[in-house]
Amino acid sequence: MDLLQNFALGLSVALDPVNLLYCLIGVFAGMFVGVIPGIGPMTAISVLFPLTFYLPPTTAMIMLAGIWYGTTYGGSVASILLNIPGTASNAVTCLDGHPMAKSGRASVALLFTAVSSFVGGTLGTLLLMFFAPFIADVALSFGSAEYFALMLLGIVAASTISEGSASKGLAAVALGILIGCVGLDIYTGAPRLTFGRLELAEGVGLIPFAMGVFGVAEVIASIGNVREARLNSSTVGFRHMKPTRDEMRRSWKPMLRGSGIGAFFGTLPGTGPIVAAFMAYAIEKRVSKTPERFGKGAVEGLAAPEASNNSADMTAFIPTLALGIPGSPTMALMLGALIIHGITPGPSLMTDEPEVVWALVLSFWVGNLILLVMNIPLIGLWVRMLTIPYRWLFPTILAFICLGTYAVNTSSFDVWLVLVFGLIGYGMRQLGFPIAPMLLGFVLGPMMEEQFRRAMLLSRGDLMVFAERPISATVLAITAAILAWSVWSALKRSKPLADEQPE
């Protein structure tokens, strides 16, 4: 059978000592960069890219891909320990990961993210292996109407994921959308909120935005309360890593659901791991019988997004490999490694270059395994990071954030943006506005607008296009149902309270 042959071919190339070594280098580098806030996959890959010039294409791809999914593994470490997401796709992990760490269960949280990431990564890889061409065709059938419907579902489902006031959550989403609007209008080219700066023509970058509102804001906020809630770093070692039976029972379903959600969103070009993590978290919270535990250290709120973003990391390769179309700038960079070596990515990449594609896919699994095995003994080391005095740790983090942001475009303007968003993020925290929904608005808002207006252009202004296309109609119906359900359950919750008052 073809598949078995390809599998064997891929495995033999992936296990070749040289490729294995570069896979190890890739995931190791990825994980370390992931741990450092400010340096994400984009920075790491663009900095290490020139190295791939001197490597065979397969080896180069294996290494770059290792960095890509390695950063998502490592990114959760900073989310859990410092409440600063290592990469933007780990932002949701802060919500329950950090509270777990604060209650002295940092090792358990890290163990769960490692296992969830592995489960997500493995399931994503399996899907990629067996269904890539099929899934790619399905993804192609998603037009702008379908995208718009999905984005709307995402924003409705996930905008209330944070604890506290719903109106503050919505305000944060709206602010995120507003910041996402900066840049040239893609349909008319009219500059919006660019203040005449050429640097803002393409909008605010995700990295300066996320690093400002999460990273810098957290650092400023911790200056005031260094003495408070110093994490208990003495609880290191395998003994303290042991999760409770209850936690194990509660985590496997979220891992599987998260992987599925991640696999879906990873496939659609342009959405990727960030949206996947948000959706997985939002859905877990909705299906949970005890949603009030979320945000206070619920293991489900950790397992689902971590499985999801890693699964999305893998399936993001489906459009890239099956169609030769990169779904994100990072994927485009990776395809660049092939282009440089004379392999032109296109719809026939999988048939023309089975060796490259299959070796790469199987290396994912090898890499995920390495990450899991490597991560468990490293947990003790990560937790020890907290024993570094804040006066050393935080300035270092700030320096890395600036460096990482600067390195992507060699732009000092982006570093100023980090500062501005750091102040905005700090102000929001002080006033009790949640930050995570703002990131969601920032990512989804502009995409929603882009797809809506494109659907309108294509339908020549007929709104019925959203109802006529079956996928978009279904998704919009689900969105409406969620909205109705939210309103209904909010009314139900407030009613007994109103009844009690007269007594």
Partner: protein
């Protein structure tokens, strides 16, 4: 005489001395920076690094590729336009930044190719017009006839408003007297996805991107927008052969900031010619889908001027204003 005046004179003297030293020294005496206006990994970056390595091995000085991305390659171009014109900062320039953007943006900080001294053309690729294999259009005439009979019925995808692809399309439909709807996307990948998904009727691509689509049976090429047929596209006729005299291409070139000393420009021109003639560079560039196009300076300069003026006309007549 006040202290500050003395200081100014001292500074001036030092600057003058420094300048003399700079002119007297051998060029190049320290590393050259080649600014690639895109993130690492793209086709421009690949070509930049190939050329950089080839030049570096000839001068015994490193050529450092610096990726300054953003705003459709105009930020990198602006950075080089403002750089010291000493031959140590060069630009891997795109046609978008040199001949299109100046007519569209008013806050660029440079005036297209006029802010630069051309070193030389590196590569150029003509655009190929593609339709889906599911469609009935077999020739450019079929497509344009349908478009003429049904105004605003056809949709075409481009990587964005004000890109070379957009303006080339505007030129084409204006010449064919067709009204079609422009559907801009954010970049080539997004446009290609929509094209493959059947959301739009046609688009243009360079041969290195078009050939895999044609070979996999997902797209049919109707015409190439160049003066002559292109080998890699077999017997595909040009648009001109089909009665529409439109030429459009994507190119990149090495440029230096305006005012770079003449002798250094000559040195660089020689080095670029040698690099492009290098067998290894040639093979590697061809493998990446580029045809190295060493072009005499005068010819390149006139090409720049023609394209600059042509696009100016298109932008004005199609009413494309971004500011």
């Amino acid at each position: 005489m006040s202290i500050s005046k003395l200081r100014a004179i001292a500074l001036g003297a030092v600057a003058a001395l420094a300048a003399t030293v700079a002119f007297a020294e051998d060029y190049p005496s320290h590393p050259i920076t080649l600014v690639v206006p895109f993130q690492a990994g793209g086709p421009t970056d690949a070509a930049g690094r190939l050329i950089g390595d080839a030049i570096s091995s000839r001068i015994g000085q490193p050529v450092v590729v610096q990726n300054v991305a953003g705003a459709g390659s105009t930020i990198g171009a602006a950075r080089v336009a403002e750089a010291e014109p000493d031959g140590y900062t060069l630009l891997m320039a795109t046609s978008t930044a040199m001949v299109v953007a100046p007519h569209i943006y008013n806050n660029l900080g440079f005036d297209g190719y006029r802010s630069f001294d051309p070193i030389g053309l590196v590569t150029q690729a003509p655009f190929v017009l593609l339709v889906s294999t599911d469609s009935d259009y077999e020739t450019l005439g079929d497509l344009m006839d349908y478009g003429r009979a049904n105004p605003d019925a056809l949709n075409y995808a481009t990587p964005g408003v004000g890109t070379v692809q957009h303006l080339a399309m505007e030129m084409l439909i204006a010449k064919a007297d067709v009204k079609a709807v422009h559907i801009p996307f954010k970049g080539t990948s997004a446009a290609r996805t929509a094209f493959l998904g059947g959301e739009v009727d046609y688009m243009i691509e360079t041969p290195n991107a078009a050939v895999p689509l044609i070979e996999s049976g997902k797209a049919r090429a109707l015409a190439v927008l160049s003066a002559d047929r292109v080998d890699s596209l077999g017997d595909l006729p040009t648009a001109k052969e089909q009665g529409l005299d439109v030429e459009a291409r994507s190119w990149f070139a090495v440029m230096a900031p305006k005012g770079t000393p003449e002798d250094r420009i000559d040195t660089l021109r020689g080095l670029l010619d040698e690099a492009l003639a290098d067998e290894e560079v040639d093979a590697k560039m061809k493998a990446s889908g580029f045809v190295p196009s060493p072009t005499p300076t005068a010819e390149f300069e006139s090409m720049l001027e023609t394209e600059y003026n042509n696009f100016k006309t298109v932008v004005e007549s199609a009413g494309i204003t971004l500011q």
